[in-house]
Amino acid sequence: MKLIIIFFSFLLCVPFAYAELMIEITEGSDSALPIAVVPFANKGGFAVPYDVSRIVANDLQRSGDFDTLPSSKMLSLPEKFSQVHFRDWRMLGQSYVLIGQLKYSDYTKKYEISYELIDVLSQQRVLGEVLSAGPKGLRKLAHKISDAVYEVITGVRGAFSTKIAYITVKQLTKNKREYKLHVSDADGKNDYVLFKSNEPMLSLSWSNDGKHLAYSSFHSGRPAIYIQHVRSGHQRKVTSFKGLNSAPMWSPDDSSLVMTLSKDGNAEIYTFNLSTNKLNRLTNHYAIDTEASWSPDGKEVVFTSDRSGKPQVYRMNIKEKKPERLTFVGNYNARPRFSSDGESLYYVHQSNGGFHIAAINMKTEEQLVLTSKTSLDESPSLSPNGRMIIYSTLRGKNSVLAVVSVDGGSKYFLPSNSGDVREPAWSPFLN
């Protein structure tokens, strides 16, 4: 009898179990995720060439996805997990705390850094590592920590250890200019000159293995496309046809370059196979077709063409060779670049009298202007994790490099002390 009563009681409970309240959350906070990067403890008080925790905090702040807490606002500076007072950090509204220690070994002449990432809300350690590097490798090591922190929290690989390439232009005399091709860390630091010339250089493109840069240069007296090995500096001339040789862009498998040539009388898009040196003409129109770039699967290219009367972005399948117009809003849409997942396209868009970086969703065809506050924005290049876009923009009298997040939420300028800075190109992941 007791069993029967229990059974019926259970049955009566079932409807209540099914009726449990379900709250649907479809939106999130607009603000960045709060994180505290506690200055790493210097065990021994020795000299350190770089402030590693500062570099990490800057990296995370620049990404736009994190909001770092200034050290001046920290209530304590814990060095290890046991020293973390969660209540304090929770009071400060922090979701994560990054702590670490730094030691130096006279024997190995290396720094040893141990760090821990702590989830304040779950009060658990979510990441911990011990790394070592020499004095020169400390910056790289800091970027590595940033990458690891970014990935464990967001699920997206960090792009702080990547490089950027860009061109600087300096007016030497009235009629003489100096063009320099620079390579630096993604934060603009640690830069060096890979090549310099008194003739213009433009349209930088990284190979997908990160070993080479392709660009267009006039240093031989006429426009030509070159490939340069980033480490050795070895330069190879790829094409120097009559007329225009410009806008090279590596295919996803690095086997070919897509480029603009005017050897047949008009600016057209071609692919150039780097093994066979064979050209494949893609466009054939009396209008100007230029600035092509590949889709992530390498089956399509997007390019700028004024075949409709004004510069607009077109897409073309490499085999079918039938162009399809993608942009319809505005009189100027140019220099398109695909996102790494191929779902979005970023390009230069003219509106309200200025040139801005815009994005279009390939599925919904919705357009979003990302950089409405700057003008004369050009040459967008996407970070390899698809989260940031580097571009050049006019600031004062000179053009500088700026970075904006793909949702337009965060933006910063890269410092420069060498005149005009143009044509940035973000490298792929390098390891």
Binding site: E20, L21, M22, I23, E24, I25, T26, E27, G28, S29, S31, A32, L33, D65, R90, S95, D119, L121, S122, V126, E151, V152, I153, T154, G155, V156, R325, F328, V329, D341, E365, E366, Q367, G386, R387
Partner: protein, 323 residues
């Protein structure tokens, strides 16, 4: 006979001499004199011949007999026979030879005839062949001409068909172009509409939020309570909880399409007792972000009525799925 010849000769000589002596002027006299002389000489000749025959008559040869022996006669006969035989043989040989010659001649003639016949035949054959060849060539020529004509006709037809096809293609292309233009315009219009709509929505949302802000500012605590009372208790607390969690949720990038369901246990004070993932998204960072959002709410707004709390808010679920 000899004599008559000589006489004629002489006469002719004489006539020749006379011709040379007399001039043409005396032709008539000459002919007359000649006739006269001819008559005279004829008379003379006739008379001279009859006198001479008498004078020079020769003594006829009489038969001379000689005695011969029988053997000699036999020998002579044999000799004569032999001679005659020889003559006969010779004649026979000559006849044979002649016959042979004739036969050979005949053979040769026949051969020649045959050769001519063969030649004729050959020529006829050749002629026939030539005719056949000519005929074949002519036929071939006709055939080629016919073929060329057909080819021309075919090419013309093909050209016409090609032209028709080309026109058809052009028409289709034109239609397609028009269609694409229409589509493009439609798309452009759609995009513009979308943009305008989005803009309008944005403006509306902004207006609404401003309105709400203004309303919120304007509303006193009393009014807020009154408004809350209008809503059902459950809805009110549900809305408050959602708002607190939304503020705490930092959606990781690239989370579109992900969904995670958490089970929340609260204390009657509104404090979080426990949070448990009951449906994972498959992306650790995303699940963690939802869990942190739930944990991030310091105190959940819950009804004071114990019964309602126990019924709806002691344990409930939250689905995190970015729109």
């Amino acid at each position: 006979m000899k004599k008559s010849v000589s006489k004629e000769t002489k006469i002719n000589l004489l006539l020749g001499a006379l011709k040379s002596v007399y001039s043409t002027k005396d032709k008539r006299f000459l002919i007359a004199s000649l006739l006269l002389h001819f008559v005279l000489f004829s008379m003379l000749l006739v008379s001279w011949q009859s006198s001479e025959a008498v004078k020079i008559r020769a003594i006829p040869n009489s038969v001379q007999a000689r005695v011969v022996s029988l053997d000699e006669l036999q020998a002579l006969r044999s000799k004569r026979e032999a001679e005659q035989k020889k003559i006969v043989d010779k004649k026979k040989a000559l006849a044979k030879q002649k016959k042979e010659k004739l036969r050979k001649k005949e053979l040769k003639r026949k051969k020649e005839l045959k050769r001519k016949k063969d030649l004729k035949k050959k020529e006829a054959v050749e002629k026939k062949k030539k005719q056949a060849k000519r005929k074949a060539a002519e036929q071939k020529k006709i055939l080629i001409q016919k073929k060329e004509k057909e080819k021309k006709k075919r090419l013309k037809k093909e050209k016409q068909q090609k032209e028709v096809r080309r026109k058809e293609q052009e028409r289709l292309k034109e239609e397609k172009k028009k269609e694409e233009l229409v589509k493009r315009k439609a798309r452009e219009q759609r995009l513009l509409d979308k943009m305008l709509q989005a803009e309008a929505e944005r403006e509306q949302a902004l207006e609404q939020s401003l309105e709400a802000e203004r309303a919120a500012q304007a509303l006193s605590h009393q009014q807020e309570l009154a408004l809350a009372q209008e809503l059902s208790e459950t809805e009110r607390f549900l809305s408050l909880i959602r708002s607190r969690v939304v503020n705490q949720w930092h959606i990781p990038p690239k989370s579109a399409g992900l969904s995670v369901v958490l089970q929340i246990r609260l204390l009657p004070t509104g404090e979080l007792s426990s949070v448990r993932i009951i449906e994972k998204s498959g992306v650790k960072a995303f699940d963690q972000s939802a869990e942190n959002a739930a944990r991030g709410v310091r105190k959940y707004p819950v009804p004071e009525k114990r019964e309602l709390f126990e019924k709806q808010f002691r344990v409930f679920s939250m689905r995190f799925a970015p729109s």
